[in-house]
Amino acid sequence: METPEQIRERILARFPGAEVNVVTNPGPAAQHSLLLGAAHAVAIAVFLRDDPVLRLDTCSNVTGVDWLDREIVETVRKPLPTEPGSDPAAPARILEEKIKRLVPGHLEVVYHLYSVALKQGPVILRLRTFDRGANVTLPSLTPVWRACEFQEREVFDLYGVKFTGHPDLRRILMWDEFQHHPMRKDYVEPDDYEWEPTPHDAVLDKARRHYPATPAAPQEGAAP
């Protein structure tokens, strides 16, 4: 089985303009993956399926990941100009400035590919949308691996990724009238609370909102 780096080299040799990056997994599983640009994704998928060395004939799993917008705080250090008449031996004054930068979030679709014919795998592909709002279109890999059909529908249902080229892109788990994407991290479920015997954390907050506390009855023998 080739390493992701070797696969990347061969993809780049075949598709010179393609955008392919290796995303390393630092965990003990060390399942590194290939991040593909959307433009060449279908062509690369056909190449991976038909390549005689890889023959990735099975797509076993498709899933989605939601990456929220992140705010990164960077510290920039600037030396201040020395004031005239000050001690030249004094240490230079430095102004620290904190700059907040917003890294836009995106949605990610992950494909796990195996070769049944050559008994090898997995090769993991990732596709990323441009953002989480209006530009959530990705090419569908269902024409390449038919097994993706229902799972891409599930990603569409729960994450809201729109797959172009999918033969039947409808919701699969929630009903058609449903308007949200429940697996997104900013999804808020309907406010429908019922009594819990031991509420805690978020459920306790809900209990406080739904059942306002009454003052506790005075204890027997308590000091007035």
Partner: protein, 218 residues
């Protein structure tokens, strides 16, 4: 005896179970039409052949030879709601499935009974805090017997069935305490919820179920 009641029978005499046993010992088997009517119905409760999740596997096991639900006259699992007396809600009721369950219940003829089997059918179970599972089928249809468990053993289902038989045997056939199917003003149809943008519309039937009033003390 008013004309509204479908059974022109005198009300059952107020005799205790011990007195009834004493009469049986003297050769009097049936002491009232009510007893005959309830005895017949309670021993032929035909369930609907309908399962939703893993509780349905236990329901199937209860109908097989080892547990043998036929001992209680309930072995005739009917494939059509038109022929069934009992709806065993055996498993997780997702919000997508809930309108279909209510529709099945509406299609069953009276007298009909409902058993909520397992934690999910009672309250949503482990999925109670989620977004896509109904927090108990009693939000939309009246439930006669609740069987806790995850899933309940077949013995528990048989026990629930025996509890239901007890309830049927205790029913009056006339008067204000008569069950739903003997009161002309009571309807056996319940509104089917619609699919909304983020939840079922309405999320519960207030005529059937109200959220419990909790007094929380800090």
């Amino acid at each position: 005896m008013s004309d509204a009641t479908p059974f022109p029978a005198p009300a059952a005499p107020e005799i205790s179970a011990a007195e009834r046993d004493e009469l049986r010992r003297h050769g009097i088997l049936l002491t009232s039409l009510e007893e005959l009517y309830n005895w017949g119905r309670s021993n032929s409760v035909w369930p609907l052949q309908f399962g939703l999740a893993c509780c349905a596997i236990e329901m199937i096991a209860a109908s097989m030879a080892r547990f043998d639900i036929a001992r209680f006259g309930s072995e005739v699992f009917r494939p059509s709601p038109r022929q069934a007396d009992l709806l065993i809600v055996s498993g997780t009721v997702t919000k997508k499935m809930a309108p279909q369950v209510v529709r099945l219940w509406n299609q069953m003829p009276e007298p009909k009974y409902c058993i909520a089997m397992g934690a999910c059918a009672i309250s949503g179970g482990p999925f109670k805090q989620g977004y896509n599972v109904l927090k108990g089928i009693d939000r939309f249809i009246p439930v006669d017997v609740y069987i806790p468990g995850c899933p309940p053993r077949p013995e528990a289902l048989l026990h629930g069935l025996m509890q239901l038989q007890e309830q049927i045997r205790a029913q009056k056939i006339s008067g204000p305490e008569a069950p739903r199917h003997l009161r002309p003003e009571a309807s056996g149809e319940f509104p089917v919820p619609e699919f909304g943008g983020s939840d079922l519309v309405p999320p519960r039937n207030p005529a059937v179920w109200q959220p419990p009033t909790i007094v929380r003390t800090e």
